[in-house]
Amino acid sequence: MARERVLKNVPVRIRWLVPLMLAIQIGFRTVEAPPVGAAVQLAAAPSVNNLRMAALGEPVGLAVALTLYLQAFDVQPGVSLAFRDLDYGRLISWLDAIDGLDPASSYPLLLASHVYSRVPDEEKQRAALQFVFDRFHDDPVHRWRWLAHASIVARHRLNDMPLALTYARAIATEANDPSVPSWARQMHIFLLEDLGEVEAAKILLGGLLASGAVTDPHEVHFLLERFKKLEGGEISTVLPKH
């Protein structure tokens, strides 16, 4: 006996009802307001211990989900990139929590050094850089490049040479491993040579790509795009007065 009967056994009304309801569903979802995010309502991050409990033994999976959530929080359509409206205390607490869940990932450091440090607010920029500096100590050999970028930001956007040198010297003293290129350990030299931000970024980026430290094609693309914008003047080297 055949498992299925022929189509004519289905009443005509039901045959039409399925595509009709499907069309209504698609119509409803089309006219329904699209999902939007609220960039100013970032809640405080839970503690790492609570997140570990909530992860049900999958802390890395939860860390990835939270990272993408945090990243999408600021770049949703219809919501401007108003980083200055974000509570950076809470933002850093989320980055800390994600780092605690997945210490092997450098994603929170990339967000802090390249994305959240773009805020036109000196205090918030310093908070983002401080996060990178604090987390650098946990694994200097693998995290030096984020601190190297933080050093350039401190020098050229905050105009804070002592802070930039502190970061550069931390790389020199703590990132003692053959895998760390020698130019990275000598960053304080080109900081003292007083190069412009574009030149300094060029050295850093060229060095990173040449040393093979950056292999992920998405990250290479992201860094190149950032560099092009910097070179084209789309990202100001001077802190705007907001």
Partner: protein, 267 residues
């Protein structure tokens, strides 16, 4: 056919549909689903009390959020498993064949089963919302409970559709849980796919289009029974209207699809 004969026919079908629905409820009671669900409620309350004790501040808020989230997941889980378990047993015990041999239209059988399941879902949503009354305002809890009930209706209808199509527990359960997870996260997926930080490429464009296309045929379950309504009182009347319209459309869509599949089955 005369008007009175048509009315008599409709009354007969309605009474048979309601009889199926009533027996679905009796079967659920005998299967002790009420006790199982009360167990879920008690465990959720105990865990939420534990989390409340861990909170340094906003203890009420922490407990309400934890309790609402656990109740929501717990009731969805119980409803899905119950619908699938009961339907599989009917298929295996040849009860469906017996029912259809009694001059019962297939559409009435499915409608009756669905009516039974949505009554069970309404009871689960009501029980789940009762402990929340101690932690949030009655209006907010009412809104949460109402949209949670609608969410359970959609989930129950989806589970019924899957089990009618596949007849087997494992594929039906997998698909229903995947549907629920996707419907809860599709808005976030859409937002992430529109991120301006990711590089422009054919793959990302395809990802955006795919996410938007999937979103059109899924209900936005993340907009139902939000915990924020209890903790921040952010629910609006529009939330309930939109959820009601979405649930009505989707349950009818799933019911018609299940009817289509059942009519094609050679029983």
């Amino acid at each position: 056919m005369t008007k009175s004969a048509t009315e008599a026919n409709v009354a007969k079908l309605t009474s048979r549909t309601l009889a199926i629905s009533r027996y679905t409820l009796i079967e659920a009671w005998r299967n002790r689903i009420a006790w199982l669900f009360l167990g879920v409620v008690v465990v959720s309350i105990l865990v939420s009390l534990f989390l409340r004790e861990q909170a340094l501040t906003e203890a009420n808020r922490v407990q309400a959020a934890a309790l609402a989230s656990m109740m929501r997941m717990g009731s969805v889980f119980v409803v899905i498993l119950y619908v699938l378990h009961a339907s599989v047993r009917e298929f295996q015990d040849k009860i469906l064949e017996l029912m259809l041999s009694l001059e019962l239209p297939r559409a009435s059988y499915l409608t009756g089963k669905l009516l039974g399941y949505i009554t069970i879902s309404a009871a689960c949503a009501t029980i789940a919302s009762l402990p929340l009354l101690m932690l949030a305002s009655p209006q907010d809890v009412l809104m949460w409970a109402y949209t949670h009930m609608l969410e359970l209706w959609i989930v129950a209808a989806f589970a019924l559709f899957c089990i009618t199509t596949f007849s087997q527990f494992l594929p039906a359960a997998t698909l229903t849980l995947a549907f629920y997870a996707l419907a809860r996260s599709i808005s976030a997926i859409q937002l992430i796919s529109q991120s301006t930080l990711t590089p422009e490429s054919v793959a990302t464009e395809f990802g955006k289009l795919l996410a938007d296309a999937i979103a059109l045929v899924l209900p936005r379950l993340d907009a139902f029974a939000q915990t924020a309504w209890l903790t921040n009182s952010t629910a609006t009347d529009l939330s309930a209207v939109s959820a009601t319209a979405q649930a009505a459309i989707y349950v009818l869509l799933l019911l018609s699809a299940a009817m289509f599949d059942l009519h094609r089955r050679n029983i």
